[in-house]
């Protein structure tokens, strides 16, 4: 494996290179694509959750160009993915499904046409109410990311019967919508034979793969460009139906660029979400806090359109040592929109159940929650039997406890506020995608590295330049990264916290090839390409980032209002490429975890079949006033197995464990154990003095 021995740029606290553009409002996003005489597309959505469209009438609005209708729109080449088989027939599978689109000369005319459109449809009985007690739960073939649905080692039932102390509890998480700041948007231009898409996406190449398949096009006929992206959190990880409609609209109006920007409300039915989870957690322990068994049984809803199984039981498989283990996942398929990835799918909800259960066990045993976790530290990965490439959980718990001021914690009261503290572990796999390619070119004393990667607002431009600089052994100021265009070499999706690890590996390989080919004094125009496959060490080691999160929670003794004046996260996530942008991602994840703990919930009204908290007035996310002091730090971790940089990925781990730490702290403050998120004041009221 290539090594980067002389690190000059990696680890430097550099400001993000595009920051100036962003704060001055001049960074172009997909909806800002500079095109000549664009036209505007607005969607028509189904008013019912199940039935058939029988007619769509759109009056002649000045400026209206064309209307696409369910059943009569162009036939797509591939309809294998039902979510993307948009407008192919008249059936309605969920409320808020795209059943038509109007395209007009102006945004106003398109909105007016959409407003005046009369949709007729038949209604059939709909099934949108989720319950873990439904009698039609089924076992999916596998769960998200390809993990097995169920696992079992030893005999957990027997371990539960014979243990000194057991915890068997059910925890639930709510429905969450990803809600990136920038709504999903597309500018599409079908220019003769070629389709050009400006798209807000976590991966231009994956979008191209999808679009070429759906429309039956050769890859070289489709170009996807995505310069700046205002967040995605998984909802821009794969193309959704809106992208297909934008391309269909553009094909209907050749030569005219079509803009399709979703509204916030449309995002609640079209671009995915995290499903509810109901998690039955079991822990079997000896009196001195050594686990003999762990288990988690997950029930969640999914969509009848396309299955998505949130793998909430997966972290329980590897987190703590115990000879007897069992996990399972069951689904209820409903007439609801298609769920998708949302920041740390699996780990985020799963570690809520897991880590609140550990807190309950610690209390039951009278053992410090950190001590309990340390006592159950596994020597090898319990799920695979492989050694860990590095496992920094105990170091995070110990050093985090010191930084937070954990020792001597006591429940107390300050004025009207009940005060407590809580802790939870974090974990996220150190993924590296199996394929990416980087290209390097030298000219005029400067190096340009090109890779079709994405910057979701996280600092990719800066971090990739830092990696390339160290790969080449040149000052970072001489390196420029170019990303976000399928004209650049293939890059994997910015998902699974794998971006820097995957793309950086390709860049290191390109730098090695460049130096091998051109030496240290390359001629102008010198080029080299680096391509990587999957990491051979992946088969030998279990690779994870770990963390420990600490929360101080205040609960108002009269009203139950909850405040989190302090959150501290300590992480072991391998080499940190850029401390400034890394800290921003970690505290961003923690703040989103705080938001999950206290605020976020998409309330689906089963009488109608749609989420009724469908804007930012009703779907609460944490405000600045809710996030008082959110701090993150990391331990110095050197993992030579993960990739040449030693990075593990930091985009997701920050949200894992936060909600559990807050719920555990609220319990410490009040004595009330709330097992259902969000933790709102009405749940605490009955337990207050």
């Amino acid at each position: 494996m290539t090594t980067l021995s002389d690190r000059q740029a990696i680890g430097r606290d550099l400001v993000r290179r595009e920051g100036g553009l962003k704060v001055t409002g001049t960074a172009p996003y997909a909806d800002d694509a500079e095109v000549d005489s664009p036209v505007f597309c607005r969607l028509l959505l189904s008013p019912t959750a199940r039935g058939r469209v029988t007619g769509i009438e759109v009056p002649e609005v000045p400026g209206l160009l064309t209307v696409l209708r369910a059943g009569s729109a162009e036939k797509l080449t591939s309809t294998g993915d039902d979510e993307l088989a948009v407008l192919q027939d008249t059936s309605i599978a969920f409320r808020g499904q795209i059943i038509g689109a109007v395209i007009a000369e102006t945004s106003e005319a398109a909105r007016e046409a959409a407003r005046l459109a009369r949709v007729a449809c038949t209604e059939e009985p709909q099934d949108t109410a989720f319950s873990p007690d439904r009698d039609d739960l089924y076992k999916p073939e596998k769960v998200n990311a390809g993990y097995p649905t169920d696992t079992a080692q030893g005999d957990l039932d027997a371990a539960m019967r014979t243990a000194d102390v057991t915890v068997e509890r059910t925890y639930t998480t709510a429905t969450y919508h990803n809600n990136p700041m920038e709504p999903h948007s597309t500018t599409a231009l079908w220019d003769g034979e070629n389709l050009l898409l400006w798209e807000s996406t976590q991966g231009v190449h994956p979008v191209r793969e999808t679009v070429t398949e759906v429309f039956g096009l050769a890859p070289e006929r489709v170009r996807v460009v995505s310069p700046h992206v205002g967040g995605g959190f998984g909802s821009k990880g794969a193309a959704h139906a809106n992208v297909i409609v934008a391309a269909m609209a553009a094909r209907a109006l050749p030569g005219r660029p079509v803009r399709l920007a979703l509204t916030r409300r449309e995002m609640f039915s079209l671009v995915g979400y995290r499903t509810r989870t109901v998690m039955r957690t079991r822990l079997a322990s000896s009196a001195d806090g050594v686990l003999s068994g762990v288990g988690m049984d997950v029930v969640a809803p999914t969509s009848k359109v396309t299955e998505f199984a949130e793998q909430a039981g997966v972290p329980t498989r590897m987190m703590y040592a115990a000879p007897h283990r069992a996990t399972s996942h069951r689904l209820a398929a409903l007439d609801v929109p298609v769920p998708t990835w949302m920041r740390a799918p699996g780990e985020c909800p799963g570690m809520f159940g897991n880590e609140v259960a550990m807190d309950e066990l610690a209390e039951e045993l009278g053992v410090d929650p950190i001590e309990l976790r340390v006592r159950n530290e596994p020597a090898v990965d319990p799920a695979s039997g492989k050694p860990y490439s590095s496992r920094g959980l105990v170091a995070c718990l110990r050093s985090g406890a010191e930084r937070f001021g954990w020792s001597g914690r006591r429940r107390h009261r300050v004025g009207d506020w009940l005060v407590g503290t809580g802790v939870a572990s974090s974990v996220y796999p150190a993924f590296r995608m199996p394929h990416s390619t980087a290209h390097l070119r030298y000219a005029d004393g400067r190096y340009v590295v090109s890779i079709g990667a994405a910057d979701l607002g996280t600092g990719t431009w800066t971090a990739l330049a830092q990696i390339a600089a160290d790969g080449l052994g040149v000052p970072v100021e001489l390196v420029e990264a170019r990303i976000g265009d399928t004209d650049q070499p293939y890059a994997s999706v910015a998902g699974g916290s794998s971006g820097i690890s995957t793309w950086g590996s390709a860049i290191v390989e390109a730098a090695r090839a460049f130096r091998e080919k051109h030496g240290t004094e390359p001629p102008d125009g010198a080029e080299a390409t680096g391509e990587i496959g999957s990491n051979p060490a992946q088969g030998q080691y279990a690779m994870y980032a770990f963390g420990a999160q600490f929360a101080e929670v205040h609960v108002h003794a009269d009203t139950g209002e909850i405040r989190v004046p302090r959150l501290f996260g300590m992480f072991a996530a391998g080499r940190i490429v850029n401390p400034r942008t890394a800290r921003s991602q970690l505290i961003g994840g923690m703040t989103m975890g705080l938001s999950m703990a206290l605020h976020e919930t998409s309330v689906l009204d089963p009488r109608f079949g749609h989420v009724v908290t469908q804007d930012f007035a009703d779907y609460h996310v944490a405000t600045c006033a809710d996030a008082y002091r959110v701090e993150a730090d990391w331990i110095d971790e050197h993992d030579r197995h993960v990739n040449p940089m030693g990075t593990k990925g930091i985009g997701e781990i920050g949200i894992v464990g936060t909600a559990a730490a807050i719920v555990n702290a609220a319990h410490h403050a009040t004595g009330a154990r709330i097992r259902d998120l969000p933790l709102t004041l009405d749940k605490l009221l009955p337990h207050l003095p």
Binding site: G560, V603, V612, T613, A617, D618, L681, D682
Partner: protein, 332 residues
């Protein structure tokens, strides 16, 4: 958004005449609620009459020691006014607890109390709503009721009034000056808003064309020591689950007088006259406060809904009211 005609009248009278003559005409002040409704399709006016230039943005002392507040005074300016902050601190607290800085810079003294409910079904034109479309039914009952009423609701409508300012104004005997086609008149603030009854589409007693030109606050020494306490689901930028505006006059441990209004609990700012009466002459202690809360909430009813409905709001109102009275009364 429906196309509409935008007009800037030359006088308040002309504004009144325009709106009175056209059932599809509306007034525009700060626009913080109307613009949402235009975008959502909740309001589809044909004519929008901008009254910002024909209403006053001044705050004046009146002869009796009270304040005259022009209809167009911005929430930010009203909250920052020294007279408001010293004579009626609960009014300033109510204003500052609402919305965001940007919205407070736009919202006006008259417009804010006239904002409409934030019931999710009222704001979603794809669901039935008696307030938006009379006779279609109430979707909130049995649905998402977290922000809905526990006092004075009807089977037609369980919506709450969302304004914070209105709660403080209701507590402090404010009055509303109205210009209508028949001239000017004065309405006690507590009578401005209605309970839903059989006509939930009507939020207030104002008639078509009625323009609020000013709000007056009387000289009220008790209000100099007052509080607005807003309990909500997050620390900022959220409507009240419940709120309490209160002032208490205590002498020798006895409550001499009280002013109390509740927010987030009814179709109108809820002046808590039963609680006020129950407190007068009683010891300023926990028992009196609890008794007052109990009496005020004797007829409170929860709305059935998802996740247990809103039953939690009844004890929450009581606990919040007791906490505020305890703070004002200085007794534990």
């Amino acid at each position: 958004m429906t196309p509409f005609d935008y007009r800037v009248p030359t006088s308040a009278g002309a504004a009144v005449d325009t709106v009175a003559a056209n059932p599809a005409a509306v007034f525009l002040a700060g626009g913080t609620n109307l613009l949402d409704h235009l975008k959502l399709g909740v309001a589809e006016p044909e004519v929008v009459v901008d009254v910002n230039a024909v209403t006053s943005d001044e705050i004046r002392d009146d002869d009796g020691g009270g304040l005259w507040i022009g209809a167009a005074v911005r929430n930010s300016d009203l909250a920052a006014d020294r007279r408001i902050r010293t004579r009626y601190p609960a009014v300033a607290e109510a204003l500052l607890s609402g919305a965001s800085g940007q919205l407070r810079n736009m919202a006006t003294a008259a417009g804010n109390p006239l904002q409409r409910t934030r019931c999710v079904y009222f704001q979603d034109t794809t669901t039935p709503c008696n307030k938006r479309e009379p006779g279609t039914g109430c979707s909130a009952v049995g649905g998402y009721t977290r922000y809905h009423a526990v006092l004075g609701a009807s089977d037609q409508c369980v919506a709450t009034h969302p304004s914070d300012l209105a709660v403080a104004l209701a507590a402090f005997d404010a009055e509303v000056q109205v210009l209508g086609t028949g001239g000017t008149r004065v309405i006690p603030f507590v009578d401005l808003h209605r309970l839903p009854g059989d006509a939930p589409e009507r939020d207030t007693v104002l008639e078509r064309g009625d323009l609020v030109t000013a709000i007056t606050l009387p000289a009220l020494p008790i209000a100099a020591k007052s509080r607005y306490r807003k309990v909500r689901d997050r620390a900022s930028f959220a409507f009240a689950l419940v709120s309490v505006a209160a002032a208490l006059e205590v002498e020798d441990g006895i409550v001499r007088d009280a002013r109390i209004a509740l927010g987030g609990v009814a179709h109108k700012p809820w002046r808590a006259t039963n609680a006020e009466e129950a407190l007068r002459g009683m010891p300023a202690d926990e028992d009196s406060y609890r008794r007052a809360a109990r009496l005020e909430l004797a007829d409170a009813r929860a709305v059935a809904g998802l996740d247990g409905g809103n039953a939690f709001k009844i004890p929450l109102v009581a606990r919040t009211l007791v906490a505020v009275l305890r703070e004002l009364g200085g007794a534990r």
